[in-house]
Symmetry: C2
Subunit: 471 residues, 2 copies
């Protein structure tokens, strides 16, 4: 494989195909096919995301087609999307009376229905989500899982609240939920408030999660928007408060797409292929029987089958590779697909009453007594998770550089992210962006107390902000 | 509620809204919104369907947009769909170079990729499926879950095989799988081979599952198609056989949509609302504490919480309704949503060391000793499943009438399905359909040995066939 650090783009394209995650040969630009293995990874990740949301959200499903008149209602929202929505104009042989938009995101599909669902304060809060395909007519360079014309796996949550404070609280809860999600995937992140000129069309403000890709560019992997009363006014969504007065609702929405899978692949992968945390690996354990001759083959295979059953009963996702191949080829195959743990069983292991364990995170092989295998595997899972997390975090932190001049920023961006102080003034912001062809990710949400001089105007109590070249 | 038998259409629309399954107020004809409760029912049903398929199929995901040139390749297939596909013609402000079809079904999206995936006999068989949204520009009367412009929940499986025999075997396996699925939903079905003029566009033949709705019309709830080599020729999909010769693959495909949910609702529901088999009920048990005064309220609520935890630990989907409402209102609420089993806990039950059980299938209430509650619930689930199955089967069978003249058929169709003998000759078939404004579902797949005189031409070894008015 290509080196991940040296030529990330090539490495990325190669691994998507060779590990059978996405097939890029679909005959339309920006549309890709999920291979079965890729889809099984998606299932693991999204099942986990669902389990987090199900704590206090309800899953729903709204139509994919939005009629022109609803889509055209919110001026800022339209402006944000009008150059990149797909229009359905024909049904069968005939022109449609009303053109339909393929949802680029579902505010304009969902909020007319919220208007019907919400009558009184007793109907609030509402917290729903859906996992759907959305569409953008991307004119930029497209890339599987990252910049798509069909986003196949958009988890979008939409909430409605009585007050601004309730919506603020929901934003905080969503931030916590996304933290938990990305921490489980061992994906490091920065949390920033996007500059006003980069917020979601129609939002009061946008909080974003960004991670860092091997080529030093950041990837936005989650966004959370406080919509205030903006859409409530557009769609006339009001409730009767306990005093009998009509009030506009406050709303939030927040989304995660298959970019989380792009990050999972890119952050942890190495030159041997995928590296996956046990929590989301489609196969957590592969059992490889080591058979040199036919002599003790049956005995080894029996032991392998017994172990597989034992692990399955424990809910461990295990595969037994009894194909007629050399062990080395099998090792390569499963390492490439990121299986966290390999158990080898050979005649010598049987004699000694042990199994041989090989970990995908590169630690030396070890032996474990047969009757301790279950505990051994669980322990190995924990250790692997921790070592993947630590490696990712270390690499991430090492590529964030504190800078006090634009020259330092220029150098820092070659490796990753620049950490600066910015007063928050748009004029200073635009100057930074224009001079260096980069993006201000925004003011840090987690270092609000840390203050210093603005990198442009030197105003003294400027806040921590991050700069990057972005995907 | 309206009577299900007397006015099915009204009953159906009413229950979709009042039990919060689908919201029909979306501002485009033929598009509907899944309420959270409706979606949780969908989840149960589709999770089960997935678990059946996962035995020997792999889940994948293909793009929703099909380029014109691929869609236009298979002449018969186009003919079948050209009057009802939606066309995307604009991206942003510009016309697209290549118009894109919203998939009405995914043969033309998937098979160009099969061509890339299949090289040798070792790549076969392939068995994949996906659960996706598909689109039809329906000009007929639309109806939630039944006749849609966006089919939100289309499970389509596609398989590729070396030989016709392998494809035939796959058709049989798919029939078994669908039987298992609908049996678990307690939905009775007929399995027939559709007349040639009613098969899937591009298929060699089509096997269909139909159930009977309360108004006497049948609803097609599953289809299985043997595609032979038809699409293989169109998309040039070949493999190298063990002798090194190039051969065309043989294919099958088979689908189930949210009509399975329409059937589930319609077949079992009654004038009180939904009736759901425990296997797919979003809530399997509701616990209702009976509190007459404040006196022993805490004690009763404690017992209810303890029971909830006990059931949750067993993986039972349980809800505790401790809202401040009259018990009668709660009974109504949960009966309407089809919860199979209600456990009532009052002070008297506590004193006696029992729980009171009330079953949704209408059996009298019973009491069970507290320490036997788990077994009691599991037993009740089995009994409820059986009684729902038996009631559905009995009603279904009672509405199938053996007929030997077209006059008898006319009478039989008022109640349901007519069972006749038909020689299979298209001329006789068309005469039946034209004279009575009905559909031949097709020759029975399960009564191939049963022979009699054709209802039209009296030819003596005609096979059993079913006639119906269809949705």
């Amino acid at each position: 494989m290509s080196g991940k650090e040296e030529n990330f783009s090539e490495w990325y394209n190669e691994i998507l195909q060779s590990a059978e995650i996405m097939d890029v040969r679909y005959p339309v630009k920006g549309l890709y096919v999920w291979y079965p293995f890729g889809f099984s990874l998606r299932r693991q990740v999204y099942d986990f995301l669902r389990s987090l949301l199900d704590r206090d959200h309800k899953e729903t499903l709204f139509p994919m087609l939005v009629p022109e008149q609803e889509f055209m209602k919110e001026a800022e929202h339209i402006k944000g999307f009008e150059n990149e929505v797909y229009w359905v104009t024909k049904g069968g042989m005939n022109e449609l009376d009303v053109p339909l938009v393929l949802r680029p995101t579902s505010e304009t599909a969902i909020y007319p229905i919220f208007k019907l669902w919400i009558r009184s304060h007793a109907d609030l809060p509402i917290r729903i989500y859906q996992i759907v395909n959305t569409f953008r007519h991307e004119t930029k360079h497209t890339r599987p899982l990252i910049r798509l014309r069909e986003i196949t796996s958009f988890k979008e949550a939409h909430t409605a609240h009585a007050t601004w404070e309730d919506a603020e609280k929901q934003v905080k809860d969503a931030v916590s939920l996304y933290k938990e999600f990305f921490t489980m995937l061992a994906i490091p992140f920065l949390i920033t408030r996007r500059p006003d000129w980069d917020k979601f069309p129609g939002a009061e403000y946008t909080i974003a999660f960004d991670t860092l890709m091997p080529d030093g560019r950041t990837l936005q992997i989650g966004t959370i928007h406080n919509l205030g009363e903006n859409f409530a006014h557009t769609f006339d969504i009001r409730y009767e408060d306990p005093e009998g007065k009509q009030q506009f609702i406050n709303q939030t929405c927040y989304g995660i797409s298959e970019r989380c899978i792009a990050a999972l692949i890119s952050v942890h992968g190495d030159d041997k292929g995928l590296v996956l945390p046990p929590a989301v690996a489609p196969h957590q354990v592969v059992i490889v029987p080591i058979v040199f001759s036919d002599k003790r083959k049956e005995e080894v295979l029996d032991a392998a089958c017994t172990l597989r059953r034992l692990l399955e009963d424990e809910g461990i996702r295990v595969v037994l590779d009894d194909r007629d191949e050399r062990p080395g080829a099998k090792y390569y195959h499963w390492e490439h697909r990121g299986v966290p743990l390999r158990v080898e069983i050979g005649p010598k292991d049987l004699d000694e009453g042990v199994y041989t364990l090989a970990r995908r995170d590169g630690r030396p092989k070890s032996k474990i007594e047969s009757d301790k295998i279950l505990d051994g595997i669980k322990e190995a899972f924990e250790e692997i998770t921790e070592s993947i997390q630590q490696a990712a975090e270390k690499s991430f932190r090492s590529r964030i550089t504190g800078c006090s001049t634009l020259e330092e920023v220029e150098t820092a961006l070659k490796r990753g992210v620049a950490r600066i102080y910015w007063c928050g003034n748009p004029e200073c912001g635009h100057e930074i962006e224009d001079q260096l062809d980069l993006s201000i990710l925004g003011l840090s949400e987690e270092e609000k107390e840390d203050r210093g001089p603005c990198i442009i105007c030197s105003k003294s109590d400027a806040r921590v902000s991050y700069l990057a070249r972005t995907f």
